[in-house]
């Protein structure tokens, strides 16, 4: 019930905003997001992170939908879904609040689609049915498309169309992979736990998918990667991101960076690992290589940007490269770092986009050539800006450091020989000898090269901060002294109370998660331990099929016996 109401409340709020007069839009949407956030806190308090239910899916509910197709509206959350839902519900009121002065036309449309987007995102994280996940996943495209193309900047049409088409194409291929897994489950002999009948329940499919042959798993992984890698985004299918981020309105960018990108990383965690354990172990080095390339490439492109928003957008590409690197390290430290990175990136990059939005509302430019030394003019804003830049860079003491170090540690520890992972995987593809090397390992080389990505991140972010915040004061022509009068509407020179209230919770969380991340780590520990167990099973199954380990003496479960000849 709780989860269904978490999904429905934003949708009902959207309907209310659409039907009520425009002057009520802001207050109704603010109330809706605050009620949803309160419910989220309630869920957090009732969630059991230790004990018997720690890694199971709590607050579960199910409504029969299309039983002929095996669809049901089945929801449930574990620690990871809970943290991501809390991130979404936290960013909800913040996005509503930051749009109060930015959006002046077609106000009702804006707030109602923003609320629909929030409801759909909660649905993605709460879904325990594959098609419910896919429906909510795809349905987030429409509100985002509308927000970008109606309320964005100059190039908004191209940005919104490119965003929609890239992600829609990838998702179609992912759908083929997901339906394949459902079909595989329906072909198994009828079992007690849902095997053998047509269903889309994720728990059932997870049990069945582990018995797919490595070749089948590889194809399913390729299909899932096609869909989720576009969303994350991974190099080289990332080109929609800078355009979409730059042209979106402030709240759109915050939601896009904060939550929408995490749909892709969450999808990889929730589906790529449990559905294809052997395949992901086998191909982890290749995925890790793509991530490392993304980190370095994204960082170098950021360095030459002059548009502040585009710089932060490309930095998302680099940061999420770290996130997926930790994920494909496939050990407890790495995956924990990856999940933590999802949350921390949402907080810090979301806040960076908020700060940039506040600049844009006042000066109507984002170019580093026209802005400079704003600390003299806007000290409060500058404090927040530097704070969030430091969180994004990964300064120890703030949240970015924790997740970054854990991802790198995971990549470093995922080795048995000095960087043998990639060579054995590539050599295996080229028909070389794979004996003697454990597949699915990253290694110190990955961590080292990604570590230089940290240095590049510091370079471009600090350079940007140095130009925009410090240095000689430079304001765009026409915004001279005396700015803050009636020119830009009611916005004062420095931040007003509403804007400080949108940034303060994010800053507090960045600091808290930087010095005391233990509550979050407690929440996510048990589910990740389960995932690591699945990965280890996949690793040993792969080693057995490669002849590196002796075959199992006792007969494995009947599903495996039936499908492996």
């Amino acid at each position: 019930m709780l989860l269904f109401s978490l999904i429905l409340i934003p949708l009902v709020g959207a309907l209310a905003v659409a039907l009520l007069p425009a002057k009520n839009a802001k207050s109704v949407s603010m109330a809706t997001t605050l009620v949803a956030a309160a419910l989220g806190v309630l869920a957090l308090m009732q969630f059991q992170s230790e004990g018997r239910f720690a890694s199971s899916f709590q607050f579960a509910g199910e409504i029969n939908w299309m039983s002929n197709l095996g669809l049901s509206l089945s929801v449930g959350i574990d620690g990871i879904s809970l943290t991501l839902i809390l991130l979404t519900l936290l960013l909800g009121p913040i996005c509503v609040a930051c749009s109060f002065t930015a959006i002046t036309e077609r106000v009702r449309t804006y707030y109602s689609w923003l609320l629909v987007l929030l409801g759909a995102m909660v649905g993605v994280f709460a879904a325990r049915d594959l098609i419910l996940f896919y429906v909510c996943f795809e349905f987030t495209l429409i509100p985002m498309f509308i927000l970008i193309s109606l309320y964005g900047s100059t190039n908004r049409k191209r940005a919104s169309v490119k965003f929609f088409l890239y992600t829609f194409t990838g998702s179609m291929i992912a759908l083929a992979g997901l339906v394949y897994v459902a079909w595989f489950n329906s072909e198994l002999p009828v079992g007690t736990q849902g095997a053998g009948r047509w269903t889309f329940e994720i728990a059932v499919l997870q049990r069945a998918a582990a018995s797919m042959t490595p070749a089948q798993q590889a194809w399913v992984l390729a299909a899932l990667l096609a869909g989720f890698a576009v969303k994350v985004p991974l190099f080289p299918v990332h080109t929609w991101l800078p355009l979409a981020h730059t042209e979106a309105p402030t709240a759109g960018s915050v939601i896009l960076a904060g939550v929408l990108l995490k749909l892709g990383t969450y999808g990889l965690y929730r589906f790529a690992i449990p559905f294809c354990p052997q395949a992901i172990v086998e191909h982890a080095p290749l995925i890790g290589l793509v991530c490392v390339i993304g980190i370095i490439y994204g960082g170098l492109i950021c360095w030459v940007q002059t548009d502040v928003k585009k710089l932060v957008a490309y930095s998302s590409v680099a940061h999420l490269g770290f996130c997926i690197l930790g994920l494909v390290a496939l050990n407890q430290v790495g995956i924990t770092g990856s999940v933590l990175y999802m949350i921390n990136h949402g907080l810090s990059t979301g806040a960076l986009f908020l700060c940039i939005g506040m600049i844009y509302e006042r000066y109507h430019t984002r170019s580093m050539k026209e802005l400079g030394g704003l600390a003299a003019r806007m000290p409060v804003w500058s404090t927040f800006m530097v704070f969030f830049v430091m969180a994004s860079v990964g300064l120890p003491g703030l949240n970015g450091f924790i997740s970054e170090i854990m991802c790198l540690l995971g990549a470093f520890q995922a080795s048995d020989a000095w960087g043998s992972g990639l060579w054995s995987s590539v050599g295996g593809l080229a028909g070389g000898d794979v004996n003697g090397a454990t597949p699915g390992t990253l290694g110190p080389w990955y961590a080292a090269i990604a570590g230089t990505g940290m240095i590049v991140a510091a370079m471009y972010l600090l350079y940007m901060t140095g130009v925009v915040v410090w240095g000689p004061l430079k304001e765009p022509h026409g915004h001279d002294h005396g700015h803050g009068d009636a020119h830009a509407g009611a916005l004062p020179t420095d931040l007003n109370r509403r804007e400080v209230l949108t940034l303060a919770p994010l800053a507090a969380l960045c600091l808290l998660l930087g010095v005391y991340p233990k509550p979050v780590l407690n929440l996510i520990h048990a589910p990740i331990a389960d995932s690591v167990r699945i990965i280890e099973d996949g690793r040993s199954a792969l080693a057995r099929s490669n002849g590196l380990l002796p075959a199992l003496a006792a007969a494995p479960d009947t599903a495996q016996a039936a499908t492996n000849p």
């Binding site: 029969n64 939908w65 299309m66 039983s67 002929n68 197709l69 095996g70 098609i131 896919y134 429906v135 795809e138 349905f139 495209l141 429409i142 498309f145 509308i146 193309s149 109606l150 169309v161 929609f164 088409l165 829609f168 194409t169 179609m172 291929i173 759908l175 083929a176 339906v179 394949y180 459902a182 079909w183 329906s186 047509w198």
Partner: protein, 552 residues
Amino acid sequence: MIERLSMMYPEIALFVTTCIVMVLGLSRTLAVRKMTAVVAGAGVLVAGLLAVSTTPSGDAVTGAVGQTFLPGLVPYAKVVIAAVGLLMLLTLAGTVDRGEESRIAAGQRAFDPLRSNRAEFYAFYLFSLTGLMLTAGADSLVWLFLALELTSLPTYIMVAISTPENRGREASVKYFFLGAMGAAVFLYGFSLIYGATGSTNLNEIHAHFASHGLSPIALAGVLLSLLGFMFKIAAVPMHFYTADVYQGAASQVSAFLAFVPKTAGFLAIILLCGAVGWNYAPAEFGWTRPLLPGGGTDLPESIRIALWVIAALTMTVGNILALLQSSLKRLLAYSSIAHSGYMLVGIVAGPGDGTFAHNGLAAVLFYLLCYGVMNLGVFAVLSCIERGVTPEGEPIEADSFSDIRGLCGRNPVLGWTLVVCSLSLLGLPPLLGFFGKLPLFSAAIASHEIPLVIVLGLNSAIAAFYYLRLAFASFLEPGDAEASRNAISPFRSRALAAALSAGGVVLLSIIGNVVISHASVAGRYVPAAKPVAEQLDKLPAKHAGADDFGLR
């Protein structure tokens, strides 16, 4: 004979209504003439209600006759035809005689039955629906041919009289000649099948194929028949007429063309492929040796490859050419071609093991309903917008993107219907089009047609380009001065049809399970007993007899 009539109550009701409508439309009293459409609608409604209580065909218990390998097909198909037919009738109101009636109302002219087209228009519409229902209940090749012709010949006339401009006549002539050629092709195919099997009765043909396999002549007959049916569903390579005919006819009649011939073609394809059977092993491939059933789950290899290539080409050609269009009606014509391609994937997949998720035939039958409703929504919106009225009193149609720009602001009902139905045609969850495509996906994966599934997915993504343009031109873009001069058609039933379509799209995506259960029953395939290949030479050969024309 009596048993056969008892299965045709819906068609009889429609036929009686046709006779009444033909007379009503010729009355000199305006009020009586206006009742023509209402009576036609009542007839379709009665036919639908009668169809609900139709017994399944081939049911040994009740003694009903008909084809036996798809027993549940007839009731479902007739109800779907009646339901979508009623919606289409709401859209078709006011198509013909508009200028003529305005002149009569202005007193310039007296009512002249020779000039009036109203009676013929509605009568031909009802004839076409009758033919469509007869196609569903066909159990012999002759019946199938007659039903298909009864479905198509009225459509040629409807296209011609839908608009007094020359484009209607040009479209009709093109459609007629190409349609006649298509009919000749599948009739020739039917004759070859008769020559090979010795019977025109679908049950006997099915039993013959099950026991003797396909001889080369039978294979040629089946392939030619399928090629002729491809004309009906506008599949490559028989798709060239589609864009010109849709553009030449009035929008409402184009909506009719997008559903009725397509349904007729797919019902015929399902019946013919059902007679052939999906139990051939994929390794069997030969032009000269007979194709033997048993040991597999596909159509005979040459038929399967032909349908595979046609499906892939149809989807791709339809979507790519739709990208290039600036005329809305041509864009919808090419999108119609693409949707035919999607449904052909279900035919290639076959009935599988009978569960709905594996059953390509049930997926096609469900998709026909989904497609009928959502496509009608878009065409109904188009038919509501008029750029103006000619001096003769006939409407000037809206056919370009500039006409629908900003429609949501000017007329929310029409604008939002366009958005909902376009996004549903795209296949965006959670709208109906996605739940129509999902069974096609799953059926194709279940029959191991993975490359075809990839083609289907990529084509859906290509289609996003133009459906997005269509959906958001009305919602996101502000209307320009030209668009704001457009009037809404005075025939309010078209707006009602649009709203009902949008409502149907939303409703069916919530309670679709009920319809899916019926479609699953309709797609249930009950093949004849399949002898093992080695025992074939022990069976007696079939002799042609006097009662083999299937007209029992």
